[in-house]
């Protein structure tokens, strides 16, 4: 009887002390948030953190509707999305939890090692079609892209293409792994992938955003000190009135321990 009472007491106390929070959104940040949530729950047995994916857009619209506490996003919140949150009378809070660098990759046999942003724009918008135009062999360029639904697609378009459209016949692959596979087996291929996906099957090119003055190879170090240009922040969004509830978890993610997990997953720490 005593034992039963004891168990009931534990149950009641854990129910009242429970800090349930939901995180929803980007599939890019999904593995990171999952790992962080796991570690956080191990350290704080009373807390529950539920992490689901679905895409950055899905997460932000859930935040607007109030069905999630934190929206994880691989792109910056859009103007009209911010607008909707303000219309509902909430103030939006933004936290950068990590950074992700995009590497431009080509086939390992490709002799081209340096490309400027302007050349990349030409290649992905279809104005440059042969490798010899950018100092390579006489070979047709085959650009690979992600599907239009991906946050990576949007970020690349914004950063490298300066909001211009991709060429209409671009090869679009359903996953980053498929891009690595295809670029690795196609001589004239070029594609973009997250830094964590770099392998010996593909070669990363050095990129210049200052019209060819300096070329930088993608690496965690270069992305961290700001010399590698194609870096995107990964965000957590929440509304100010939930701050008390979500703060402990976000503080944990931003702590030294949490940021160590960021590096382990293959992203760049935000500190």
């Amino acid at each position: 009887m005593k034992k039963l009472f004891f168990i009931a007491a534990i149950l009641v106390s854990s129910l009242t002390a429970v800090q349930a929070q939901k995180i929803k959104g980007s599939d890019t940040t999904l593995p990171l948030s999952q790992k962080e949530a796991e570690d956080y729950m191990n350290a704080h047995p009373s807390a529950t953190v539920t992490v689901t994916g679905g895409g950055s857009g899905v997460g932000i619209s859930a935040l607007i509707e109030g069905t999630t506490d934190i929206a994880q996003s691989s792109r910056r919140i859009k103007f009209e999305e911010k607008q909707k949150i303000q219309e509902a009378g909430n103030a939006l809070k933004e936290v950068v939890i990590a950074y992700d660098a995009l590497a431009i990759v080509v086939h390992p046999d490709n002799k081209v090692t340096n490309l400027t942003r302007e050349q990349l724009e030409g290649i992905f918008s279809g104005k440059i079609t042969n490798w010899k135009e950018v100092g390579g062999a006489d070979l047709k360029i085959v650009p690979y892209s992600r599907e239009t639904s991906s946050g990576t697609y949007e970020f690349f378009k914004e950063s490298v293409l300066k909001n211009k459209n991709y060429l209409s016949g671009i090869m679009s692959m359903p996953a980053t792994g498929a891009i690595v596979q295809s670029v690795g087996q196609t001589k004239g291929a070029i594609g973009y992938i997250g830094l964590a996906y770099l392998s010996k099957d593909v070669k990363a090119v050095h990129v210049s955003y200052d019209r060819g003055k300096t070329f930088t190879a993608p690496s965690v170090k270069a992305a961290k000190d700001g010399t590698y240009p194609i870096v995107r922040p990964l965000y957590y969004y929440y509304v100010a009135k939930n701050e008390k509830q979500v703060k402990p978890f976000i503080d944990y993610v931003l702590s030294t321990k949490g940021q160590k997990t960021v590096s382990e997953i293959g992203f760049i720490p935000s500190l």
Binding site: G55, G57, V58, F79, E80, Q83, Q86, S125, L139, K140, V142, E147, T148, S149, S150, N163, K164, N165, Y166, S168, G169, I170, M171, S172, M173, P174, A178, Q181, S182, Q185, T186, K187, G188, A189
Partner: protein, 398 residues
């Protein structure tokens, strides 16, 4: 008691038949209801408008022109029916280059006013801005009237760029031709092969081989399509690329090959069943009249089982045209009208699968994908009706 049970079972069977019919009907109605809304959407992204300087004579732009303006391909208003003036595209994000957040107000209450200043002060501007920030009535700002999406642009369009801003491009042609092209080639590869195997299994193979071969082929049908896709991407694609010395291996041909392999079990099983259903007496009569084995197959067995064989063809084509995952992985998904077998293509099912998850619910992109679904449905309906007619004609001729 027995009678009651029988009655209950009978009514249960009737109900299950009726439910199946109703569910199928509902799915079709749902598909068309979602799709039909497409042509009432505006050709500019919803919630946004395009504004130009009040002195600009241009009133109307086609989606194609809008896209090329914002891609900096059309850079002078004279190319779009206006004055000789350089075009300056302006997006909402550019606003922060002109004004600080404080100047725009905490809740963006000064945005319309500031936009009015920018648009009024730049003669060549074309601004892509949210509807609620359109500056109040003034001489200096003109809102370009958006058009409804036109069926002609959809059915005759050669560009599929559903997320292009400000004007998404919904062109059916590359997707439709891609689908038909891949499906047709797949069936051209699978049909002779499948029929050959079916005839061999049904007429020539001895019992031992048959008992071994038939389950193996049926096993092929049980392999998940994504596994075929993976096999295609890792084995077929590099092979095709090397064998034909192509710049890319992800081509319509790779898709056709994978689809042909996938359609084979369906074609073989259905056709072989039809062939074996030919009554033994007919075979014996034919042989008794002095026809040899081959003549019996050719003149008696095949004509007798032709309706089953055409059913096999239809099911095979249906499988090939509707297959999604494997094609998504091996065809490269480039939305261009195919000019040869060795170019990347994008098919309708692959497009729906890849895009529906992220398309805003109820928007133009979402409806467009449903229209694609309707078209796919119509294609399969046409194929099965024509196969039905063919087999009927054959039977009448006999």
């Amino acid at each position: 008691m027995k009678r009651i049970i029988e009655k209950v079972i009978e009514s249960l069977l009737t109900i299950s038949g009726a439910t199946t019919g109703i569910v199928i009907l509902l799915i079709v109605v749902f598909l068309f209801r979602e799709g039909v809304g497409f042509f009432s959407h505006s050709d500019i992204e919803s919630g946004y408008v395009l504004c130009v300087n009040g002195k600009n004579p241009v009133d109307r732009l086609t989606p194609e022109q809008i896209k090329r303006i914002f891609d900096y391909e059309i850079d002078n208003w004279s190319l779009a029916g206006g004055n000789d003036e350089a075009i300056e595209p302006f997006r909402m994000n550019d606003l922060s280059d002109y004004y600080s957040d404080e100047e725009l107000g905490e809740n963006y209450e000064f945005v319309p006013e500031k936009l009015g200043e920018i648009i009024g002060g730049t003669p060549g501007i074309i601004a892509f801005i949210p509807e609620q920030y359109v500056p109040g009535k003034s001489e200096e700002v003109k809102v370009l009237s958006g058009n409804k999406l036109k069926p002609a642009d959809f059915f005759g369009g050669e560009n599929w760029m559903p997320t292009a801003t400000p004007a998404p491009q919904f062109g059916l042609l590359p997707l439709l031709t891609g689908t038909l092209w891949v499906g047709l080639c797949a069936i051209l590869i699978a049909l002779p092969l499948g029929l050959g195997v079916a005839i061999y299994l049904g007429e020539l193979a001895n019992e031992k081989i048959r008992n071994l071969l038939k389950p193996t082929i049926e096993l092929l049908a049980g392999i998940p399509s994504v596994v075929y896709g993976f096999f295609g991407l890792v084995v077929l694609v590099p092979f095709i690329q090397k064998a034909f010395n192509l710049p890319v291996g992800e081509t319509a041909f790779a898709g056709s090959l994978v689809l042909a392999i996938m359609a084979l079990p369906t074609i073989i099983t259905v056709a072989e069943d039809a062939i074996r259903n030919t009554p033994q007496t007919m075979r014996e009569a034919s042989l008794g009249l002095g026809a040899n084995h081959w003549q019996t197959i050719y003149r008696v067995v095949i004509p007798y089982s032709i309706s089953g064989i055409s059913a096999a063809v239809v099911l095979g084509i249906g499988r090939a045209i509707g297959e999604t995952m494997a094609v998504l992985m091996v065809t490269g998904n480039a939305a261009v009208i195919p000019r040869s077998l060795f170019e990347p293509v994008r098919t309708i099912p692959a497009t729906i699968a890849a895009e529906l998850g992220e398309a805003p619910h109820g928007g133009a992109h979402y409806s467009a994908l449903f229209v694609l679904g309707c078209i796919l449905f119509l294609i399969t309906v046409i194929i099965s009706i024509s196969a039905e007619l063919i087999s009927k004609k054959q039977h009448q001729a006999q």
